[in-house]
């Protein structure tokens, strides 16, 4: 029975697929059903440009010819001549294992679906992809490769780590970003999957660390519908999945204030991510994956 792309990539149906190789293939195939543009050019965009010289840039990269014409120093930026190197950075903290009352998948599962899809796409066109999972520190690091075996390794890793994980102490965004940045020798593309539940300044510093390496950063801010809408009604005891702390309150009484504060937080996050010229996408874990992927490609196309 034929399925529409939206149905195929609905998190509920994807959650039933245990084999991540199959899952990634299904996402990618489902994504391009009915699209006019050739999908395989998604990552191989040849692009070069000039940008104003900044202190610290190597002198050899200054375009002296342009200087002669304009009396201004510009740096020449070259297009990637080798295959693209991409990193999937997944937040594996306990909060990522949260899912709302009416949701089929956890935020973590959703992030792995997306990461698997991107890995599949990259490796299918001979680019390389690596994986970093983190919470308070880096938990798992798989350097980027471009082989078929490597694709299998990545997808297997993503599939295995989607099981239940006990709450850990929390997430250290700044520290893990610094560690990850140190690992990234080459400029490339960083896919950052996280719920970013931390004070905004810490997130800002982490984003700054990742983006300042010269790599292209794309942040997928994955949140549950319950976090976005706070639909609870009865007087309840809320337990923090990361710290174990407990808070008793009447959620209905606090909903408006929560939503107001949460919106402000989201605005802040989006503002400073975009200030760093990084891509940002707020992802509701109930959304079909194709919508998220299409938005991503559309944004890259526009940027090109």
């Amino acid at each position: 029975m034929p399925h529409s792309s939206a149905q195929c990539l609905d998190p509920r149906s994807l959650a039933l697929i245990a084999d991540y190789e199959l899952l990634a293939k299904r996402i990618v195939d489902g994504l391009f059903v009915g699209l006019h543009r050739g999908p395989r050019h998604a990552f191989s965009l040849e692009y070069s440009r000039h940008r104003p010289y900044e202190r610290g840039d190597p002198l050899k990269r200054i375009d002296w010819k342009l200087y002669g014409k304009t009396d201004h120093l510009y740096i020449r930026q070259y297009q990637e001549e080798t295959s693209l190197q991409a990193w999937m950075m997944l937040d594996a903290s306990a909060s990522m294992h949260f899912k709302g009352p009416a949701e089929a998948v956890t935020k973590w599962q959703y992030a792995t679906f997306l990461a698997a899809a991107f890995c599949h796409l990259l490796l299918e066109q001979n680019d390389s992809a690596g994986l970093i999972t983190f919470d308070e520190t880096l938990k798992r690091v798989i350097p980027p490769r471009g082989s078929r075996q490597h694709q299998n390794l990545l997808l297997k890793e993503l599939g295995q780590s989607s099981g239940p994980v006990k709450p850990c102490g929390g997430t250290h965004f700044e520290k893990t970003a610094a560690l990850a940045a140190a690992l990234m020798k080459r400029k490339g593309l960083i896919f950052y999957f996280s719920d970013l539940l931390a004070p905004a300044p810490e997130i800002e510093r982490a984003i700054h660390l990742l983006s300042s390496q010269g790599s292209e950063l794309y942040v997928f801010h994955i949140l549950s519908g319950a976090e976005l809408e706070f639909p609870y009604e009865k007087y309840s005891e809320f337990q923090d999945m990361e710290t174990g702390e407990v808070l008793r309150l009447d959620p209905a009484a606090y909903r408006q204030a929560y939503l107001r504060n949460f919106s402000a937080y989201l605005r802040d996050i989006k503002k400073f991510v975009e200030r760093r010229e990084a891509g940002y996408r707020l992802v509701d874990a109930r959304e079909p994956l194709n919508q998220v992927l299409l938005d991503f490609f559309e944004k890259r196309r526009l940027a090109a």
């Binding site: 909060s95 719920d195 539940l197 990361e242 808070l247 309150l249 606090y254 204030a257």
Partner: protein, 685 residues
């Protein structure tokens, strides 16, 4: 809301409703579910700053709600209004309410062949007149029955009234008065008449007398001759009864002289009748009746007297406990010969005791034995009830050790100093020090003038010296004292003081027995006590008290009076024996002072505590039952007022109610404001 008054169920229900907001709050706040949430970061950041303020406001609103409900209930509640039962503002067409006593005593012959109930019906008939309001009749025996008759027509009412008969139940005004008080509000505007013979058990009489006003007109339906006879108290000799000797037992009785037939008064030893006397009450309405009886069995005896002819014979019984035994054996240790008898330290003591012996003929209830310390070495000290050691040197240690052993099983040692007492010898004798728990102060006796002061007039030794009692101990002057230094003050209890600080008489418990230490001699060169009028009764009380291992400590009271028991911490259960063989098991629940309140019946209540038996005799001495009749007779008719014990009057009640209303309105306003503005977002009540 006229039915809502302080004592009504509605009012109490309204108060209970005040608990509702609390219950709702706690129910609402009961944690229904636990949610594992990704992060409390935003929730905590949001709630933390306002949490304390919110909490205060929340409790404030809750208090406002509860107060509102309580104040509203108070504002609606009303105390009883005064009933103008005597007529007054009541119109001739006001409803008439009759409360007719139909207890068994109303079947009593009124003297002319009719029963009291018929007499009461006749009085009701006389109260009716043309054009009166609706008629209601309640009948009451032990309690008030529901409405028996409610009619508008006097003829029909009287016809139905004729069918009312006497019940088998014993009645008591005690059951009707509270009912009247409770329903007074319903009778507002009605003329209430209570018809009864008001015959009440003597032991209940004082309780009725305590409630002298009822919201009704009272008509006492009395026979021409009322069988009113009751026993007031038993009089026994003020000492133990002597075994094998004929003793006299008296009973005091009182009556109104209305009894034609002779009244038989029987005396009992336990359940055995030991004597009976027939009285002609018309000839002598009050007086004493006595019998003589020889007791052949030793031990603690319950003596009782009962009048067999009375309206309530089962209750007309008095009881008294007494010890039956051999005469007391008092040992005076005397090591010295005196030229003149009055030089003897026992002179005044023996004068009192022997004169008492002489005054009762040959009926000696004690024997005085005089021996020297040396003679005691081979003596059986356990055979003495009291050992007096006045102005003597301490006996040899072996004798003292044997004395201590014998004291542990009962009896008393009385140590009295004198001019030859050597404090050093007492201090040097270790067994003596152990017996006394201290020593006399070295040196000559102190020459200071003191007066006697009992530690408490409630103490059995001094009860008879209460103000207006026999003699005044405070008038006794003491000039010479040999101070005693207690080394174990906790065990040496001062019974009698000299002035403020110097002990005069100290009691020390040793097993079942006790040691009494005087610090002044019972001689005229030491004090005026032997010359004082208080000396003779004191000596008797002292001997009775000091030998109390056998003669029980007796407390007196009136029926209905709570018996106060000073329970020791280790006593978890007490057995209380009451009149007529009644028994109770009491659990003081670690309360030091425990009150036993089921003491409505006259008789002896006894209990054992710390190895000793206590008794309290409840008799009608203090509550003359005849007082009830003048108070409840027709002179009181027409008087009606609040009954203070049931419904305490509220002073300045207009102000009180206004205040309640204003406060309730303020609370309601606060509530409305809170609902309208929701003090703060996130606050829902």
């Amino acid at each position: 809301m006229s039915g809502l008054y302080f004592a009504s169920g509605w009012f109490l229900a309204a108060l209970a409703a005040a608990v509702l907001p609390l219950a709702m709050l706690f129910t609402k706040e009961a944690v229904r579910s636990k949610i594992r949430f990704s992060s409390l970061y935003f929730l905590q950041a949001m709630t933390r700053p306002a949490a304390r303020l919110l909490e205060w406001k929340r409790w404030l609103l809750l208090a406002a709600r509860v107060l509102f409900l309580i104040l509203a209930a108070l504002a609606f509640a009303r105390p009883f209004k005064r009933l103008d039962a005597g007529g007054g503002s009541l119109s001739p067409r006001s409803p008439l309410v009759f409360i007719l006593d139909t207890s068994a005593s109303m079947g009593y012959d009124a003297g002319d062949g009719r029963a009291l109930l018929d007499l009461a019906k006749e009085k009701i008939r006389l109260k009716l007149h043309a054009g009166q309001g609706p008629l209601t009749l309640y009948t009451a025996a032990d309690k008030v029955q529901p409405v028996v008759i409610r009619e508008k027509s006097a003829a029909v009412f009287l016809k139905k009234l004729a069918g009312v008969t006497v019940s088998d139940a014993a009645g008591s005004a005690l059951g009707i008065q509270p009912w009247l008080a409770e329903h007074a509000q319903e009778f507002n505007g009605s003329k209430v008449t209570w018809l009864s013979d008001f015959s009440t058990a003597p032991q209940d009489a004082h309780r009725i007398a305590a409630v002298r006003e009822v919201p009704a007109e009272i008509i006492a339906v009395r026979p021409a001759q009322f069988s009113n006879f009751y026993l007031k108290k038993i009089i026994l000799p003020p000492r133990p009864l002597i075994l094998g000797r004929e003793e006299e037992i008296q009973a005091v009785y009182a009556s109104r002289g209305e009894i034609r037939a002779p009244v038989a008064v029987a005396f009992f030893d336990g359940e055995s009748k030991i004597g009976e006397t027939v009285l002609d009450v018309r000839a002598q309405p009050s007086g004493t009746v006595k019998i003589r009886h020889r007791f052949e069995v030793p031990g603690l005896r319950k003596l009782s007297v009962q009048a067999e002819q009375d309206s309530l014979p089962a209750d007309n019984r008095l009881e008294e406990l007494s010890w039956v035994g051999d005469p007391l054996r008092l040992l005076f240790i005397q090591d010295r010969e005196f030229r003149y008898p009055f030089e003897s330290p026992y002179f005044y003591l023996s004068q009192v005791l022997e004169s008492s012996e002489a005054s009762t003929g040959s009926q000696a209830w004690f024997r005085i034995i005089r021996k020297s310390s040396a003679q005691l070495e081979e003596d059986d000290l356990a055979g003495y009830d009291m050992v007096f050691m006045a102005d003597t040197a301490p006996p040899p240690p072996k004798t003292l050790t044997r004395l201590r052993t014998s004291l542990k099983s009962g009896g008393s040692l009385v140590v009295i100093p004198g001019r030859h007492t050597d404090p050093g010898a007492y201090a040097a004798s270790l067994p003596m020090q152990q017996l006394l728990g201290g020593r006399f102060q070295e040196g000559e006796p102190q020459e200071e003038i003191h007066t006697l002061r009992p530690s408490s007039y409630e103490h059995p030794l001094f009860q008879i010296f209460k103000p207006r009692g026999r003699g005044r101990l405070e008038h006794v002057q003491v000039r010479r004292v040999l101070p005693f230094l207690s080394e174990t003050p906790a065990q040496n209890k001062v019974l009698l003081w000299l002035g403020e600080r110097t002990p005069c008489l100290i009691e020390r418990k040793i097993g079942e027995g006790q040691v009494f230490i005087w610090t002044t001699a019972l001689q005229t060169d030491w004090n005026d006590f032997p010359r004082d009028a208080a000396f003779v009764p004191f000596v008797f009380e002292f001997v009775k008290y000091a030998s109390r291992g056998r003669v029980l400590q007796t407390l007196r009271g009136v029926p209905g009076e709570a018996i106060v028991i000073n329970a020791a911490a280790e006593e978890k259960i007490l057995e209380m024996n009451g009149p007529g063989g009644a028994r109770w098991t009491l659990t003081p629940n670690l309360e030091r002072q425990f009150q036993f309140e089921e003491s409505g019946r006259a008789g002896i209540y006894s209990w054992r505590q710390a190895g000793r038996t206590f008794q309290k005799i409840l008799s009608m001495d203090a509550a003359e039952s005849v007082l009830v009749y003048p108070d409840l007779n027709t002179k009181a008719a027409g008087r009606a007022a609040l009954i203070p014990s049931v419904n305490p009057p509220v002073p300045q009640r207009h102000f009180f109610y206004t205040l309640c209303w204003l406060a309730a309105l303020a609370m309601a306003s606060l509530e409305t404001l809170a609902a309208a503005f929701q003090f703060r977002e996130g606050m829902r009540l």
